[in-house]
Structure formats: C-alpha cells, structure tokens
Symmetry: C2
Subunit: 171 residues, 2 copies
Amino acid sequence: MQSLQEKASAWSGVDQADAFAIDESNLFEKLGLQSFINLSTNFYTRVYDDEEEWFRSMFANSKKEDAIQNQYEFFVQRMGGPPLYSQRKGHPALIGRHRPFPVTHEAAERWLQHMQNAMDESVDIDQDSKVKMMNFFRHTAFFLVAGNELKNQNQNNQVACKHGASKPAEE
Amino acid sequence: MQSLQEKASAWSGVDQADAFAIDESNLFEKLGLQSFINLSTNFYTRVYDDEEEWFRSMFANSKKEDAIQNQYEFFVQRMGGPPLYSQRKGHPALIGRHRPFPVTHEAAERWLQHMQNAMDESVDIDQDSKVKMMNFFRHTAFFLVAGNELKNQNQNNQVACKHGASKPAEE
C-alpha cells in the first residue's frame, strides 16, 4: 500500500525532495512576516469570492480573518519563523484538522489555482521562493487528498452497512 | 464544542503555553542528536518489552528500529533541529498517522509512563529540558486521544447503523 507521502508525490507530480526544498533556506527570514500576511489575504479573498459555490461553501463556517491568520501562522512556523500557529492552536495536525472537509482532487486543484493566482500577484516574494513554495503547496494539497481518502474508507464502510440493511435506522 | 487543543489541555493538565515551552529555546542545539537517539531507543526498548500485550501489540506491525528512527527524527525536527522527519516521510500529520491505532486515555498514560521511565534514565538531558519535554509529550499524547475520538465518532455511527438494521450486511 502506498504511503500518504507516496500518494502525494504521485498525484502532485512533486517529489519529496522538491516539496521540502522550502527547508533549504529560511524563507521566513528572507521574506518577512508581512509577505506571508499579504499572500494569505490575497488567497482567501479569492477563496471567499469564488464563483464556484461547492468550493466557497467549504469555508463558510470560518471567518475570513480567522482563515487568513490560521494559514499565515502555519506558513510562518513551517518556513523557519516563530511557532505562531502552535502557540495559539497546538499541533498543525494537517490531516486531522482538515477532517471536516471533502479534500478531493478537484478541491486540491482549485485551492492551488487560487494560490497560484495569489502568488502571481505577490510583489514581496522572489521567483525562486515562489517555485519552492508552490512545490510545497502542491505536494501538501495532495497529501491532504490522500488523508481524505483514509476517511472515505470509513464512510464507504458505512454505506455498505446501510445498503446491506433491509431497514436502515435513519431512513 | 471543545477544540482538539482544549481537550488536550483539559485531559493532560498541561496548558498550551507549558506544552509548547519547548519552543522557548532550541533544545536540539542544547542536547544534540545523540540524546534524542538514546531517548527513543530507551523508550521503544520498554515499549517492545511491555508485559501488557494490549499495548505492545499496537507496535507489532513496525520494526523497532523504524519506530525509533521515526520518533527521534520527529523530535529533532520539532525541537529546533534539521527537518529529518519531513525529508524522509513528509508532514508529521500526527493525528492522521496515528489513525490506525486505538489511542485511548489508557494508552496515552502507558505511553507516557514508558517515556517518563526513559527520561528518568537519560543522563544526556538536563532537568529543565526534561520538564519541558514531558509537558510537550503529555499534552501531545492527549491531543492524539482527542484526535482518536474524532475517529470513533465515525465508528459509533457505524455501530448505530448496524443496531438499527434488522438484517445487517456482514452478520
């Protein structure tokens, strides 16, 4: 059975080494806090304005400003800066915390398209850093698709149970 | 509803700030790689020799040397050292990767008892670092219990489905 990271590499087309090339230098020190805040603000402005309701609605239970803070604090922490995310929320636990959301291949691609557009508009981030960050994001997005499929294995079990039952409990 | 980190604090008795006091200084630089290797080797020697079969059996599908490496590489990465874990395995994704295991309150306490015993035998780690690390481990162990209970919500749904069915599929 493929591991989470093997699936992430296969589906994203980004191998492990390229995904974690963000660790070759300290991107937080190079770019500074405000670059990350600007990126996440641009990204979530796109997400909350998305014309595709199926994608936009996944974020409907969070305030935009909270989503922005959660994201840039995680990016800062993961890319060499102070552990802002863990100080406030604990372990990133990426798969666990994405559990409520249907992180499909299609959702990963749409997330990445918004992030690519936000990156393209960023004037704070140099080209080399943009490449490293997008490789990290692309690998991570499909790592979460792999995590999501673990969850679906359970749901499929539930469906099998319902189909097998002549008088399901909740219908 | 309590968040994962709120449950972790409530159940462990370790608040967020104490749990992440490991970030106040660079423990990897202070302690060095060999201290982490020694700690994880001592810890897993205890785990693989545990007289309690219910606990020991959770680790039966992994080789002891792999368990040791996974653990010390994560500790090194999280406590200020090079990202050894992510270079080899990707995101820690603590909840996602513990998904196959029944991380109960009882299992968390037994894990922590083995770790406390390993700490007590460590001659490489100073007392202040031991306190910080045990607070981190204690909070994290119960963070994973909280993550495990998310999973059980699904399983309970399945049980409810089976009970409601007059002729369950697999019986």
